[in-house]
């Protein structure tokens, strides 16, 4: 028996080593071709400005790695578009890589340490500044100038959100806006209507009224980090994160915490314990759509316009979800259009030209977007958005109408992307809100702590 095991182990061992050899060969051949195309692109970048005829050549022969996060639907549709592109441009092949949101960022940062980033990466506004300031993304302006990348269809304001320090590092691929989702059926039954552009005081009065009439409480941006505090600061004329410090005063910060303090003391704010029983951020478990009694449910949820479909989907049969703006005293200053996602080209790309050309295709091609059906948000190009209207479902059309009719007229430019250290501050906001809701500290204490610790976190 012993001998058999030993010989088996040897056999397996040899197989593994053989496999090792194979895989090594595999990687070395790919890196060979990679190196080949690298020299090609290098000469390309030199001639870039003068002649664009040669470049199309390089851009037409490439193996591109594209990576994104998302669910099954997105994975499938994206893969279909990649296949379609290869069909139209036989020289270009793709390796589509996808992962779940948190995994995606771990994988991406690890790859950045090893300088093996994919050519094209799906980027989020939260991470944009970090990736740019660490020189991991390619400035795309030269590719716009030489005609490879066509962004003429994208609204100036939206396009600018991909700009950091004058360079354009990310192309928006879906437009989005903050939206307060609410249970319209419930409110209709009780004769309550919600108007757009509520002020904070009006909002709180409404919450109280709903609580008294229906028993439903209010789940106000709990555990979502800095999104609502940033919005509130905007309405007060401040930018939450400035370079190396907080842009708001302690008094301004206090206004935000007071909403929670008041809500808890008047009883209409959701008890913080209900959030410990759910996974925060998943639409299926939001108190708006899920809970066993009014006391554990909320009449509204602070969310974004593209979440309508998933929330409506998760809502009980017969419940209609509608959307309005988040409350703010100065709605024009507070509200903004937000690119849901971007595509960026990384510095590790051996063929940025081909990558840029692919992004251009993604942005402007109607057939491709007919496959994608606006799953990442309303297409950034207005022309494309109009052309695929027939492909959209009712929830998406509602989101488009909301963006065009409600947000666009009363909004201003989005804050610059948050700097390094903001993730930690965001977590601190969560913890302070939690403590206010558990009545451990007052809104005043919370503001003082945020002001002091937040500034320290941003400073180093």
């Amino acid at each position: 028996m012993g001998k058999r095991i030993i010989s088996l182990s040897l056999a397996v061992f040899l197989t593994v080593m053989l496999l090792a050899g194979c895989a090594n060969k595999g990687t070395s051949t790919t890196s060979d071709t990679g190196a080949g195309s690298k020299t090609e692109t290098k000469t390309e970048t030199k001639t870039e400005v003068t002649s664009s005829a040669d470049q199309t050549n390089a851009a037409d022969n490439a193996g591109l790695t594209v990576s994104w996060w998302g669910n099954q639907t997105r994975n499938e549709r994206t893969q279909q578009v990649l296949d379609l592109y290869t069909q139209n441009n036989p020289g270009v092949t793709f390796d589509g890589q996808f992962a779940e949101w948190a995994d995606y960022w771990n994988k991406l940062s690890t790859a950045s340490a090893g300088h093996t980033l994919p050519d094209v990466v799906q980027m989020d506004y939260k991470y944009l500044e970090q990736y740019v300031s660490n020189n991991l993304l390619v400035d795309l302006i030269p590719y716009i100038d030489n005609g490879t990348l066509d962004v003429t269809g994208i609204d100036e304001n939206i396009l600018n959100s991909g700009k950091v320090n004058g360079g354009l590092y990310a192309i928006p691929i879906g437009v989005n806006a903050p939206a307060l989702m609410y249970n319209k059926t419930l409110l209709d039954q009780n004769g309550i209507t919600v108007k757009d552009n509520l002020s904070l005081d009006e909002f709180m009065a409404l919450c109280k009224e709903i609580y008294e009439k229906t028993g439903y409480k209010t789940g106000a941006a709990y555990g979502d980090g800095d999104i609502f505090i940033e919005y509130t600061m905007r309405s007060l004329g401040s930018i939450l994160y400035e370079k190396g410090k907080l842009g708001a005063t302690q008094e301004q910060l206090q206004k935000f915490f007071e909403v929670y303090e008041k809500g808890i003391s008047e009883g209409w704010m959701c008890d913080p314990s209900i959030y410990t029983e759910r996974t925060i951020g998943t639409p299926e478990q939001m108190p708006l759509v899920y809970g066993s009694s009014p006391a554990t449910m909320s009449w509204c949820a602070f969310s974004y316009s593209n979440a309508l479909a998933s929330l409506q989907n998760a809502a009980p049969e017969g419940t209609e979800i509608a959307m309005t703006t988040w409350p703010a005293d100065d709605q024009k200053a507070a509200n903004y259009l937000k690119p849901g996602m971007f595509f960026s080209v990384t510095v590790d790309s051996k063929n940025p030209e081909a990558a840029a050309k692919f992004i251009s295709y993604w942005t402007n091609d109607v057939d491709a977007n007919k496959i994608l059906k606006g799953e990442r948000g309303v297409p950034a190009s207005a022309k494309v958005a109009e052309a695929i209207k027939d492909q959209m479902d009712q929830n998406q059309l509602k989101a488009v109408a909301y963006i065009n009719n409600v947000v666009t007229p009363t909004s201003s430019v989005i804050n610059p992307p948050a700097p390094e250290g903001s993730a930690e501050v965001s977590k601190l906001v969560d913890q302070l809100v939690e403590m206010v809701c558990y009545k451990q500290i007052t809104a005043e204490d919370a503001a003082a702590q945020l002001f002091q610790k937040g500034n320290e976190m941003l400073a180093d």
Binding site: M1, G2, K3, I5, I6, L8, S9, V12, F13, T15, V16, L19, A20, A23, N24, G26, T27, S28, T65, W69, G70, N71, Q72, R74, N75, E76, T78, Q79, Q80, D95, G96, Q97, F98, A99, E100, W101, A102, D103, N106, K107, T110, A113, G114, T116, T279, G281, T282, P283, E284, Q285, Y290, N306, A307, A309, S310, N313, A314, P316, E375
Partner: protein
């Protein structure tokens, strides 16, 4: 007789509590995916549907779960064989021999277990990249042929320490080399420990998604553990039904292996070989 009935009632009762979560997962996978949360407190589905299994098995962009299962089986089995064999060798060496540096090796082995695995993610990645292994299964398999998991070495060592030394000595007097002693005497006797280790190792390799996430790039080569996570997306909607369906299936191999191997743990070969 009454005693035996009480025994079975108690053991069964607690056993039910133990498997309740698995039962819950399987039952949830048979519910309409929309109702999983709203009916989380009731175990039996109102209407049984296999739609989740169909949706889930479809996988992602042309790659079905069949492929993911094959990948997982391949990685887990090959890595487990390596772990068990290399750990047994090392355990014998460290348990039965006095040599220079033995203490150092033992302490290093314990120390490697005390550093949280998460902190080694980046350094390991950089190192495997230097070796040219990124993008292949090598980082998921080869290290296990070098007994890198001290747990298994220590587990088997502990077992060897329980074997009477007289056995080795008698064999040595008969002219056996240490290598023959290992294959002829020690290995059969530590089979229960090796099987125990094999069960753990298989399960851990099967569940490991982190190294697959970092080192495997093509979706065609994803293991089940990584693929399961792809059903959820906190930003948009997640398909919990499909996830539970595939998660239920993914428990099967480990359960089957356990049921198949566990009898060797207790009915093994060793009783006759040992003398008090």
């Amino acid at each position: 007789m009454a005693g035996r009935i009480i025994y079975h009632v108690i053991v069964c009762g607690i056993g039910l509590i133990m498997i309740y979560p698995l039962l819950w997962m399987v039952m949830s996978s048979l519910k309409d995916t929309k109702t999983i949360f709203t009916t989380a407190n009731q175990l039996i589905p109102e209407q049984i549907t296999f739609q989740n299994y169909i949706n889930g098995w479809r996988g992602f962009g042309k790659v079905t779960f069949g492929t993911f299962f094959m990948n997982s089986l391949f990685i887990s089995i090959i890595a487990t064989i390596g772990t068990v064999i290399s750990s047994a060798l090392v355990a014998y060496g460290m348990a039965r021999f006095k040599f220079k540096g033995r203490k150092f090796l033992f302490v290093s082995m314990l120390a490697t277990m005390m550093l949280p695995a998460q902190v080694l993610m980046i350094p390991q990645y950089l190192w495997y990249q230097k070796l040219g292994w990124v993008g292949s299964y090598l980082p998921l398999i080869v290290p296990y042929y070098f007994a890198v998991q001290g747990f298994f070495v220590y587990l088997i060592m502990n077992f060897i320490n329980g074997l009477p030394v007289e056995l080795d000595e008698a064999a040595k007097i008969d002219g056996c080399s240490y290598y023959r002693i290992f294959t002829k005497i020690i290995m059969p006797l530590i089979a229960p420990a090796m099987i125990t280790g094999g069960i753990f190792s298989f399960m851990w390799r099967w569940d490991d998604f982190l190294s697959a996430l970092l080192y495997v790039n093509e979706s065609m080569r994803y293991p089940v553990s990584l693929a399961l996570k792809l059903f959820s997306d906190p930003g948009s909607s997640s398909d919990y039904g499909a996830m539970f369906a595939m998660a239920s299936l993914s428990v099967l191999p480990a359960v089957l292996i356990f049921i198949f191997l566990q009898k060797y743990l207790v009915e093994g070969i060793s009783t006759s070989g040992l003398k008090g």
